[in-house]
Subunit: 189 residues, 2 copies
């Protein structure tokens, strides 16, 4: 792999693990097996490299989620598959994690990929909810936009609960609760 690619991947890993403030150029160089001069030859500095890493992470997250949300099954089944997919829960979300970093939030260029990714996810799920409403899979009156936000928030917050407790159980519990709330509408109507 090329040196820039190794630098970007190392930065992705470190940003996920330690955040922007907690990630130093030196640590990136060590992880990538690249020297100081090499890193500053390919990137103008830490923030430039972080932008490349965050953009790539955001893209990868879209692909991962998209495979399930655009996959086989009914709208409800796809949302369920997304919620129940295998996750390294205790590592947290590589995108959502960065929203707690003030230096990332303060920089519009770094924040943009985070916003775009979570917004894309919310929209994609809202569309599925609408399709599920149309085919009777969800309770009439379900508001796709807000409920999609709830779904994304539950996942993001599930990571918080899991990391606080040191166990993925809390994440699973939050998802279970959400799925039960989304359960099939009464057949009586």
């Amino acid at each position: 792999m090329s040196t820039p690619d190794r630098l970007i991947e190392a930065t992705q890993d470190l940003l996920w693990e330690r955040g922007y403030t907690g990630t130093s150029p030196k640590a990136i160089q060590r992880a990538a097996g690249a020297g100081q001069g090499s890193m500053y030859h390919h990137f103008t500095g830490k923030s430039d490299l972080a932008l490349a890493a965050i953009s790539r992470t955001a893209q990868e997250m879209r692909e991962t989620a998209g495979r399930l949300l655009d996959g086989p099954g009914t709208p409800r089944e796809r949302i369920t598959a997304y919620l129940l997919r295998e996750r390294e829960v205790l590592r947290g979300c590589p995108v959502g994690r960065l929203t707690m970093d003030p230096d990332v939030i303060a920089d519009d260029a770094l924040r943009a990929p985070l916003d775009a990714t979570l917004e894309w996810l919310r929209e994609r799920i809202a569309t599925l909810l609408q399709e599920g409403l149309d085919n009777g899979e969800f309770a009439p009156g379900t508001a796709p936009g807000p409920v999609a936000a709830t779904i994304v928030a539950t996942v993001q917050g599930g990571y918080v609960l899991a990391r606080a407790s040191g166990s993925s159980t809390a994440f699973d519990s939050a998802v279970d609760g959400l799925l039960s709330l989304l359960a099939a509408p009464a057949r009586t109507a």
Copy 2:
């Protein structure tokens, strides 16, 4: 106020804003108006001071949430009041935020107050859900434990969405969606 108190309060603010890694002893001293020697006289170091600050923040959060969850109204009304309470959404949750800090999560003493607080909140809400089930305010079949986890996760995740977008709208939307799901007519026969 005493010097230790000023140091603790300054640390609380900085941990909320910048996290553990992003908070330096020097910044704490500046914010507290205390000197180097003074800080190290009252606390053994950064982590000791952080423990005091985190414990106090956790206690304050319990009191704030408790005032609404133990307040007037039916169980459903109290949960709703908790979800709709005024928040400085873009600042995030001073407790949840720290779960993304690897140095906090790696230290059981620092992690314990986070876990205890979120666990307390989840339990308190689960109890209210059970009471609401008993008086018919929630759909039969609602599982108090998991749904309580969903409620707490939605709030924590709402902060993530809001900070990503730079607006509190996404938080409000996630809460709206959650309230609508909790208000849905009985779907389990």
